[in-house]
Amino acid sequence: MTDQPLVSGPDPEIDEQALGALQDKGPMAPPRSQWRDVWDQFKRHKGAIFGGGFLIFITLFVLIGPYIWTLDAQKLDIRAKDMRPVWTLLWDGSANAAWAHPFGTDQLGRDLLATMIKGGRASMAVGWAAMILALLIGTFVGVVAGYFRRADFWLMRFTDLVLSLPILPLLLVAVTLFRQPLRANFGPETGMFILIVGVVGITSWMQTARIVRGDILALKEREFILAARSIGTKNSKIIRRHLLPNVISPITVSATLGLATAIITESALSFLGVGFPSDFPTWGKLLADAVLRMEQFPERVLLPGVAISLTVLSVNYLGDGLRDALDPRIRGR
């Protein structure tokens, strides 16, 4: 390539171009912040936008819902029991449905919309709390293992050991066995909440720990850490000020996946009958309770099931988009 003449003759246009290229122009576009780039990449992932939007919607739905739909989820109204949702009126004019209970009522006359909101609150609360607990443990283990060489071997062997535990059977065992004492000490609802958040959090931190450790190991050798250390920065400060901000993106991605697994695990436990008590509904519990009469009242299974599935789906898509957006190699392509 190089042996070809660049300009074959006196061509003023090309000459101008060549001269123009030699001039030292400043950057035309104003500088862009990193988060602006991330957002631009994120916007291009349609699934992620949908996922994020739905997650915000469902969070607002369960947070603000009780103030808009003020019916008490626990109120028994035996005269209005077994009502169908309003949309059944579309094809069956004689159905027992009314706008007073848009989603219908259950066999004890509890309003299904109010129960769904309350159950969503519980499910989301369990999901978020367990995810945050798992993140805290995972980040702590990962940072310590990555930063302090002496701790690395044992912490990572321990992580491998926990990874080879049979999680779902152990969860079942732990929840069944420790249900009674925690209920006695903290009350049926708080006790169960602590127990489920605790066991789900303790059993799902391993992936985060591994990812964080890998990133810390690579970051630790970089010059800016050396610079920080050379001016006498303490270890704790290096970790907080320099390392943690740099591993925030893998942590965010594993946070979304953690939220999805936590919601599914809680629902699975409720479905198997070891989760929350029946008077404290979560989506999983609502689904489990409704399965027996599913033929007559399919909406009671469908509504919580669809709610769980859509939430998990949107969280998964959100994680997918975040992974793309936070990865500087993909960004800008």
Partner: protein, 345 residues
């Protein structure tokens, strides 16, 4: 390679010991009294004697040691005896009669050996779960290959969407949903798995197939979702490589390039993922077994848990752990065998 496999095998022993200790201590710490089911009319001193007879009076480390002896010494003896006496495979060997009548692991529910329960329920699990896994993998591989080959096509987008859905819809929702659609509304398939059903002619065979369809579908959906994702990304990694261009340049047919050159290289990580997923699907099958009433080991575990049957729970959980450790080992060794670029030293 062999030294690596042997070293990994030895390393898995402390792992299993640790797991057994975790399971044991968890069950020890837990409240719950095996004597709770005994009638109140039984006087406390008799209850105390019963407790000691169950071995509960000993210190914890003695109990742990005895459980280990039962699991790793007495039960294998019984198993080898059975192999050389009753099984078709090794029945021609002389009867070893290693088992000397020592106490086996006794279930508190059935008052019989726990291993009998395992032997009874294991085939159900293996049939349903194994079949689901095979079906799932067989569906997933072509989907993954084709959607990587036609990257960003409609097929690829649809496949990605469906596998996302497969990830996200939990089996306790798909299970009842499929029951209502196929068993109740359409009436094509039975909703419950009949465990005592015997296959002896064509009709019973068809019934057996029919009753397996729904649980297999539920389990296979999840497997397909996962494996097809892995297959797709492994194929995408390889399709851009230089050797693919070389193969095309020297005039190989497209089918050969994709199905021989690329596929072989892409299968390496996928095979290990398939091996790693087997224990997870055993664990995940607990829910599916409960939805359809398959009397497998997951179902047994749940029953034993509710009945406070500690020995059964301990044994079943430990069997799950052994499966996980074993398949981790298999995956590691397979990776080395399949990929000559990997050297373990």
């Amino acid at each position: 390679m062999i030294t690596f496999a042997i070293r990994r095998l030895f390393l898995s022993i402390p792992t299993l010991l640790f797991i057994s200790l975790v399971i044991f201590l968890l069950l020890q710490l837990a409240p719950g009294d095996p004597m709770a089911q005994v009638p109140l009319t039984v006087p406390p001193e008799v209850k105390e004697k019963m407790r000691i007879a169950l071995g509960l009076g000993e210190p914890i480390y003695v109990q742990y040691w005895k459980w280990m002896v039962q699991f790793f010494w007495v039960e294998p003896q019984v198993f080898i005896d059975w192999l050389t006496r009753d099984s078709i495979l090794l029945g021609w060997l002389p009867d070893t009669s290693l088992y000397d009548g020592r106490l086996r692991m006794i279930s508190w529910q059935t008052r019989g050996p726990v291993m009998d329960l395992v032997v009874q329920s294991m085939p159900q699990t293996i049939w349903v779960v194994g079949m689901a896994y095979v079906v799932g993998v067989l569906i997933a591989l072509p989907i993954g290959i084709y959607s990587a080959y036609r990257h960003y096509s409609v097929f690829d987008q649809t496949g990605t969407f469906i596998s996302m859905i497969g990830f996200s819809i939990p089996p306790f929702f798909t299970g009842p949903l499929l029951i209502v659609i196929f068993a109740v509304q359409l009436g094509w398939l039975p909703s419950n798995y009949n465990t005592v059903h015997e296959v002896n002619n064509w009709e019973t065979f068809v019934y057996q197939l029919k009753q397996m369809v729904l649980p297999v579908m539920v389990l296979a959906l999840q497997t397909t979702a996962q494996i097809s994702r892995y297959m797709r990304s492994a194929m995408l990694d390889n399709l851009g490589q230089d050797y693919v261009r070389t193969a095309r340049a020297k005039g190989l047919r497209e089918g050969v390039v994709v199905m021989v050159h690329v596929l072989r290289n892409s299968m390496i990580p996928v095979v290990t993922v398939i091996a790693l997923g087997i224990p997870a699907i055993f664990g995940g099958a607990i829910i599916t077994e409960n939805v359809f009433g398959v009397n497998g080991i997951g179902y047994q575990l749940l029953i034993a848990l509710f009945a406070n049957d500690i020995p059964t729970v301990m044994t079943l959980t430990f069997i799950f752990a052994i499966l996980i450790v074993m398949f981790n080992l298999i995956a590691d060794v397979l990776y080395g065998v399949l990929d000559p670029r990997i050297r373990y030293d």
